[in-house]
Symmetry: C2
Subunit: 428 residues, 2 copies
């Protein structure tokens, strides 16, 4: 089935490009045939899950775009093997809707989980709030069915809890951003919903420094939260303005914590000015409101907003906060900070309008380069896409060496010697 190229011309990060043709795949055979033709005619191919990328990963100028969103069946679930087998177009939240009444859950939960596809999340190696404890997609994908650029359909990996046969090509596929082949099915690990009670804590602070110091204290005190989210003063202001959500101080931490770690957590929050604790689902929902509306609230403060995705070692958080504030002054750009602070993954949201776009891009570049120089990464969960190609290459050259980049390019050639798979994405 063919789709309308106009409908695939922009992603959620404002990246634009119009494919020449869109194939809406009904099954793996459609994908296989399309790749066969594309290879023969040397036409580039870009896979599309739900278009929720913020880095241009699923955007193409010309070429064929394959929409996998109609391949959306949950194929098999085993409560004995703790695995679920799904088609690539299944929406991530639909997996958890299926699992919840059965007592299981699937931890990775990107902000777009209500609409993103599992194939997209796998290709992007997505993360989310629960990753501070449970890791990202890479920690949950056991195997994938892939249509290779030569039209061969293969299963990569084994849907087993353990396997040591052969090289680990599964993790090569996770995060490859459609540059090695098209993922049509995924086998995932799932785990039981915890037996212990999880409480939700919202703590407000009077100084930004106190917050990063608190996170470092949490780590030093060996506290393992289920989520650990940060909202700065600008986020709190925006929440008050747009949604009339009551806040205090200049920043807040939202932490989900197992009951058995609550006392340890409370001790570590001694710098805070107010601590709210939610015990039941309704109270938890109430405390979560601030975080759930945060991005919308920020978006309302300017014409454009770019949610950044830097990662640093937790020990370097205070330096990075300082740097962001310094850059805000230098470029006269406001950058509210949201983030998965527990694993050092911050989303400073760079806000701008048509007049300040150039300054915003300079802010972005200087921040990313600072992060690279501090040993961090320019992306923790959004991926490279078109947006960070140059910066990601710079990061690899500085942290890993030119030879590692050469290895990646050669691996790309092994899978895709004609270079038809989603070119100009990732670092290859």
């Amino acid at each position: 089935m063919l789709g309308d190229p106009e409908k695939y011309a922009e992603d959620m990060g404002y990246f634009k490009g119009k494919p020449e043709a869109v194939v809406i795949a009904r099954g793996v055979e459609d994908v296989r045939k399309t790749l066969e033709i594309a290879r023969e005619k040397a036409i580039k191919v870009t896979p599309w899950g739900k278009g929720t990328s913020v880095t241009g990963a699923a955007i193409t100028n010309g070429g064929i775009l394959i929409d996998l969103s109609n391949m959306n069946k949950i194929l098999e679930f085993s409560d004995e093997d703790w695995t679920i087998h799904v088609e690539a177009g299944v929406v991530l939240d639909d997996i958890n809707k299926f699992l919840k009444p059965r007592g299981f859950f699937f931890p990775p939960d990107p902000a777009s989980s209500f609409m993103c596809s599992v194939g997209g999340a796998t290709s992007e190696g997505s993360g989310g709030m629960h990753c501070v404890k449970y890791g990202t997609m890479k920690d949950w994908v056991l195997a994938v069915k892939v249509v290779l650029p030569n039209g061969e359909v293969v299963k990569i990996g084994e849907p087993l809890q353990k396997n040591r046969v052969g090289y680990d090509l599964v993790h090569l596929m996770v995060g490859s951003e459609g540059t090695l082949g098209i993922i049509t099915e995924v086998w995932l690990k799932v785990i039981p919903i915890p037996d212990y009670k999880v409480l939700r804590v919202l703590a407000f602070f009077n100084k930004e420094d106190d917050i990063s110091r608190t996170i470092i204290n949490l780590r030093k005190n060996r506290i393992q939260p289920e989520i650990a989210e940060y909202m700065d003063s600008k986020v709190l202001e925006a929440l008050k303005k747009s949604f009339n959500i009551e806040t205090e101080g200049v920043g807040a931490l939202l932490i989900d914590i197992p009951e058995f770690s609550l006392e340890k957590l409370k001790e570590s929050l001694h710098n805070s000015i107010l601590v709210k604790i939610a015990e039941n689902e309704d109270e938890k929902e109430e405390l979560y409101k601030a975080r759930s509306f945060a991005y919308l609230a920020i978006k309302a403060t300017s014409k454009y907003s770019m949610s950044e995705d830097i990662v640093v070692p937790v020990s370097k958080l205070p330096k990075v906060f300082k740097k962001i504030r310094e850059l805000e002054g230098k470029y006269q750009i406001s950058s509210p900070i949201l983030g998965h602070i527990g694993d050092g993954n911050l989303h400073p949201v760079i806000t701008y309008d048509d007049d300040s776009k150039d300054r915003a891009m300079e802010f972005f570049k200087e921040l990313c380069e600072y992060v690279i120089d501090e040993g961090g990464s320019v992306t923790g969960e959004h991926g490279v896409g078109i947006q960070k190609r140059e910066l990601a290459i710079e990061q690899i050259k500085k942290h890993n060496g030119d030879e590692v980049l050469r290895l990646m390019k050669k691996i790309k050639d092994v899978f895709d010697d004609k270079g038809i798979m989603n070119p100009t994405k990732q670092v290859v």
Copy 2:
């Protein structure tokens, strides 16, 4: 420094072979120089950690063997970033000895952890008892320093909790068994010792079938143990005979369980004939005795013993138990079963003497082929090595397709075009 080839001529799985020369590396520069010379003269190179492989992975006939065990420094630990940076020769238990007083732990715990090296465990993608909850080495390695076969020294990966830049080559290195390069340093994630109390449960059963059904029940009842080990009647008999350890029935499960899941666990053990629960460290040590002496006890029953390493989906455990008993009859071979039963990873120990060696090998082959046909894997944590090369290739061809094997071989060529790195190991 040169070593004595005689000292590197056998591993713990009776695989034999004598290197022509042994280099005892004092640092990365020794490794680099050795690989440079080896490449120039097209001499094969095999890395050696502590020689605890049971698959011949570190055994070589001729060529150069590089012993990394003297590179054994813990380089850096951060209680803020929850990472530890170590040289490849550090003994795995030494990491936990270092971490324990600091309140942290590193979960992968192969049976050889008291003497195996972290470089070996990384190259082999090793597992252990705690992997039923915490996963294997692949889930804990953030980055590695590698000397590539062309003599280039690179860091692969980022020592960060999250990173999405480039292809994931870290997981390509984990489990590559020295065929892609030599790992000289490793950055690992660590986690806090849990805040909750962990109890130890030893349950005895009257029927073998009841045990596999119990494990399936545990899974269906969504019980997440910290360890879940199985010992069959032959293991129990051997324990009684060699170590006078008191047992009951025809098999036992040893389970470490968080206090908050104990009641759920007890309900699921209704088939058992006796349940012992240990609360404090001394009692736990006492219950652990059986498992810790199990392999020694089995070894005492025959001249040779081969600890197998099959994995099946948990739902298929009853079928596999039946098959093992059937093969014991067919080949007149005794195969006590030990294993990490919670993740479907069994270690049937094939016992034999000089007369029954051929039958033992046929038993081994038929069992592995049965496992492949049932969708399982011939290795969960011991790796492929020399031992399972043919079987592993068969598994990939049957489960993944010839094309996946071709991809692996091409990736091997990308790293090692001269084919000098540990040839005849793994599937490439």
